[in-house]
């Protein structure tokens, strides 16, 4: 069963206040983000809950949810490690860095470590091109990455 926590409910009130009442479906992305922050990923139950709040069908919610790459519909690791693979990072060796991290974590891109700690993902341009290569861990930026920095940073997320 899915239920928003009390803290989330307080947030929801604030989120809904941003949009005209008859356009409350605008709050869909913020609510999905909130649900994911709470559960780690978006469950079908969360989609039903959000749909009811915003007067849209659960199918509508799923349709929107699966359009955006930041939403996970399956469980992910505690830390989601993303490497930008777009051109500026590519010109600065992100391929090697990704390969290095794959070896280090013992998983391939798209996979989660058996201890459910890390999920490793490729990401398209993260808008930090002048500090390439770029990595994000749970949406926090880490820039000018090197293998040594990968070691240090992943260590800090233990």
């Amino acid at each position: 069963m899915f239920a928003f926590t009390e803290a989330s409910e307080t947030r929801i009130v604030k989120i809904l206040a941003k949009y005209p009442e008859e356009r409350k479906v605008s709050a869909l992305l913020p609510l999905l983000t909130l649900a994911q922050a709470q559960e780690g990923y978006i469950t079908p139950e969360a989609m039903v809950d959000i749909g009811k709040r915003l007067d849209v069908s659960p199918a509508y919610v799923e349709s929107v949810c699966t359009f955006y790459t930041m939403y996970y519909t399956k469980p992910v690791g505690k830390y989601v490690v993303k490497f930008c693979i777009n051109i500026s990072c590519h010109l600065n060796g992100c391929d090697n860095l990704l390969e290095y991290t794959e070896k280090k974590l013992g998983i391939k891109e798209g996979e989660t470590t058996p201890d459910k700690k890390f999920t490793l993902l490729k990401e398209e341009c993260l808008a930090a091109c002048c500090e390439a290569p770029v990595m994000q861990v749970n949406n926090k930026y880490h820039v000018n990455m090197t293998p040594e920095k990968v070691d240090q940073i992943l260590e800090s997320y233990q």
């Binding site: 989609m47 069908s57 659960p58 199918a59």
Partner: protein, 818 residues
């Protein structure tokens, strides 16, 4: 709304041809008017411009890029070219992209032969592809629902189906998931897509991605014989194409008629025709259970009726028909009973109603052009599904307002600007209150206490009606209690008398030809065309000097008199009183007392089991004639299947002949012609005039009944409301039906306060008792009706809910036991 007609036009040139079209017309549609085909996939005129498939790129002078003709409104002086090298290259390019990942499995594809992708490729496409890679593989042929198969490999992502679900059905049940080339049509969590209108996506799919599971691999499209016919289920009378092969129903598809169905049919129309091949069809005339020839059966019926009339007088025989008959069949029957047997013991219903309206009879299209719709006691979603779609369209896309007045919650409440929920059984008081409000008077102060609706609410509604230019009142007479329909008609007259308001109405009884049955005089107190018995001159002029003028028995009175022995013979046509009449459980005993019970029906029923003589009725698919829909539109129902059994009107004619009728119509058209000659409002109804889109019949004489008081009988417990269900498990949708997955369990809906009183909770299995009868049901605690009432959806014949209703009483009372 929109009463001002858009007369502005624009003139443009397409491939050198000059075209003048109404402003707002998109170039694709403008081109059609001069026979220029601009290929499309995603564009569908009912869904509006979308522009995603890029198939309709055209060159327009002064525009630097090619543009999509489906999204481009025709402009004055615009010069469009659809056949330049640039356009042809673009078309070939788009088709190459479209076919890139589309499997070329045309030989085993059900869309073959009627596939826009095939056709467009043939006409506009490249000869081959330059694609050298494996196509993107997806699951082949998986069930989207028990009746729809989806082949996602064939999908070209035109989004017609998902837009249909969003814009037309308003359910958003079918959506696009994911994005880019990973996108796919799906439902939430892969649940079945089983709405009431799901099948239309099959017809609008421009490829073979969505196919009819029942039809799959049973015939090629070009091998079908197609009949342009009408649906024979609800009273919308949607147009549809019946595809047959070797005299067997294969499939049903839409046959757009904007004046009726707006291009859609419901799933009951599409998959509710298994009865045409059911083993429970009555195909053999029989007498006392023994097969006889149709001639012998008719002779027997005539002889027995004659004998009984001679012995006991004309009042000892009666006819119970139904709105399931065609106008021609019903007309013939009333004529038989009135002219040949001399009785007005003729009826087709168990509720009160009178023919005609004191105001204009609005057609379905009027819903869209009204400012305000007042929906009374009607549940279009379950009763008249295509009206549901039309209302949703009007409310969400055309700015029409709607006020709902009902004793139960329906899906229409969501689209209403005001929903008034009166207590079950208090419709008379509420309507009287509304009438008072319309006259600027105030209903009694106890109104709210009694009905749950306040004087102020009715005042607000009255104001809305007064300030709206055009008001369309839609009401279900079958869901009004007692003689409330008379009060409703007074309201109509009052509202019509208001200075600024034009009022029209649509009597929305759910049965196929309910309006036709009223018009054809299947009534104990009215001849065809609404001619009242008091109008002896007209009656005699039209139906001869011996035409009976004394009021006949109503259907319920006939059952009563059968029980008391006063009625000796009854012909029941396309009706199953044992199940469908109030106190149905007592009907059987009453009918057993008759000297003669003749059942003329399409399917074996509980009532047919009691008959001495059973006559076959061919029914939809096999029959031919006219029906009159809720909008008063008379249309032609043609046959797609043949049978050796005579048509219903013909059987009546054979009986009449035995009774001494000298003339007989030579075919069904002769009956239609006689109707045109004799029935008020039907003068213009000729086969040629109605063939295409049907025609509104003119006014039928309207005589309002006595404004009986809204006196409601009292009782103990909860007031019963039987609700209609579209997919009811009955004789038409039997256990083998394609729609069996839509059958619902027996449920009883009551308010939380009443649930507490009766000590029951959500999900409890209970017995609902009343009128000496008991129905098993599962409890649903909800706000579906106000406290004091209880809603029982009629989910099946077996459930027997109608027996809880007490025949002849305005309201019935039930109690709930665990």
């Amino acid at each position: 709304m929109n009463t001002a007609t858009q007369t502005d036009t624009v003139t443009l040139t397409i491939d050198g041809k000059t075209v003048t079209v109404p402003k707002g017309t998109v170039v694709v549609d403008a081109a059609k008017t001069v026979d220029i085909e601009i290929p499309v996939f995603c564009y569908h005129e009912k869904l509006g411009p979308f522009g995603c498939c890029r198939m309709c790129l055209v060159e327009v002078e002064k525009m630097p890029k090619l543009t999509t003709a489906c999204t481009l409104a025709a402009g004055e002086g615009m010069v469009v070219k659809t056949n330049t090298d640039k356009v042809e290259k673009a078309q070939k390019g788009v088709l190459e992209f479209t076919l890139l990942n589309h499997p070329l499995d045309c030989p085993v594809c059900d869309k073959g032969g009627e596939c826009p992708l095939q056709d467009n490729t043939f006409k506009f496409g490249p000869p081959d592809t330059r694609m050298e890679y494996n196509r993107f593989h997806r699951d082949k042929a998986t069930p989207l629902s028990p009746v729809i198969t989806i082949d996602r490999e064939r999908c070209i992502a035109c989004q017609r189906c998902t837009r249909y679900s969003d814009i037309i059905e308003k359910d958003q049940a079918l959506v696009m998931l994911n994005r880019g080339f990973q996108n796919r049509v799906a439902t939430f969590n892969d649940k079945p897509y089983d709405t009431r209108f799901s099948g239309n996506v099959i017809d609008i799919c421009p490829v073979g991605a969505l196919t009819n599971t029942d039809f799959r691999f049973t015939a090629r499209a070009w091998d079908l014989t197609n009949a342009n016919t009408l649906c024979g289920h609800c009273a919308c009378n949607c147009n549809m194409t019946l595809g047959t092969r070797l005299n067997e129903m294969k499939r049903i598809t839409t046959r757009p008629n904007d004046l009726v169905d707006d291009g859609w049919i419901c799933d009951k129309a599409r998959w509710g025709y298994d009865f045409t091949k059911s083993k429970n069809r009555i195909t053999q005339p029989r007498k006392q259970g023994q097969a006889v020839s149709i001639q012998d059966a008719c002779s027997e019926v005539a002889a027995s009726l004659k004998k009984i009339v001679e012995a006991h007088g004309p009042q000892s025989v009666g006819f119970i028909g139904s709105g399931y008959g065609l106008n021609e069949d019903l007309y013939s029957y009333q004529k038989l009973f009135r002219q040949n047997l001399g009785t007005n013991n003729i009826d087709h219903k168990t509720y009160t109603d009178t023919p005609g309206l004191p105001v204009a009879h609005f057609d379905l299209l009027d819903v869209e052009t009204s400012d305000l719709v007042v929906l009374i006691a009607s549940d279009p979603t379950e009763e008249l599904p295509i009206l549901d779609l039309r209302l949703k369209k009007a409310m969400t896309r055309q700015g029409v307002q709607m006020v709902v007045l009902n004793d139960q919650q329906t899906l229409m409440d969501k689209y209403a600007t005001q929903s008034l929920r009166y207590n079950v059984g208090t419709d008379g008081a509420v309507l009287a209150g509304l009438n008072a409000a319309l006259q600027g008077q105030s209903a009694g102060s106890d109104l709210e206490n009694k009905t749950g609706v306040s004087v102020d609410q009715l005042k607000t509604l009255a104001e809305k009606i007064k300030s709206a230019g055009k008001v369309c009142v839609i009401y279900n007479p079958a869901a009004l209690t007692g003689s409330s329909v008379h009060i409703l008609k007074q309201c109509l007259s009052t509202a019509d008398g208001l200075a600024e308001t034009t009022v029209g109405a649509m009597p929305a009884a759910p049965v196929t030809n309910s309006v036709g049955a009223m018009d054809m005089g299947i009534l104990p107190d009215s001849y065809p065309g609404g001619v009242a018995l008091s109008d002896g001159d007209t009656i005699k002029a039209k139906w001869g000097d011996t035409a009976p003028l004394e009021k006949g028995l109503s259907a319920l009175e006939m059952i009563e008199k059968a029980k008391s022995g006063e009625l000796k013979a009854l012909v029941v046509y396309r009706s199953n009183p044992v199940v469908d009449f109030p106190s149905g459980h007592e009907v059987g005993e009453a009918l057993k007392k008759l000297d003669l019970l003749v059942i003329h029906d399409m399917m074996e029923t509980e009532t047919a089991k009691l008959a001495q003589i059973v006559l076959p009725s061919n029914g939809p698919g096999f029959d031919e004639g006219t029906t009159t829909n809720v909008g008063g539109r008379v249309q032609l129902r043609t046959k797609g299947l043949t049978t050796d059994n005579p048509a219903d009107w013909k059987i009546v004619s054979m009986i009449a002949k035995e009774l001494g009728q000298e003339t007989a119509p030579k075919d069904v058209h002769a009956v239609t012609a006689e109707i045109a000659e004799k029935v008020n409002g039907y003068q213009e109804i000729k086969r040629s005039a109605i063939r295409k889109q049907g025609k509104n019949r003119g006014a039928v004489a309207s005589t309002n009944g006595a404004s009986a008081s809204d006196g409601v009988n009292t009782g103990n417990g909860l007031v019963l409301r039987v609700a209609n269900v579209l997919f009811s498990h009955d004789k038409i949708l039997d256990a083998e039906s394609n729609l069996a997955h839509q059958f619902q369990p027996s449920t009883v809906h009551l308010h939380a306060s009443d649930a507490a009183t009766f000590g029951v909770k959500e999900g409890d299995e209970v017995r609902v008792t009343g009128n000496g009868h008991e129905v098993k049901a599962e409890v649903r605690v909800s706000n579906r009706c106000n406290p004091g009432g209880v809603v029982l959806p009629k989910v099946s014949d077996e459930q027997g809910v109608m027996s809880l209703a007490e025949a002849g009483k305005a309201v019935s009372w039930v109690t709930i036991r665990k």
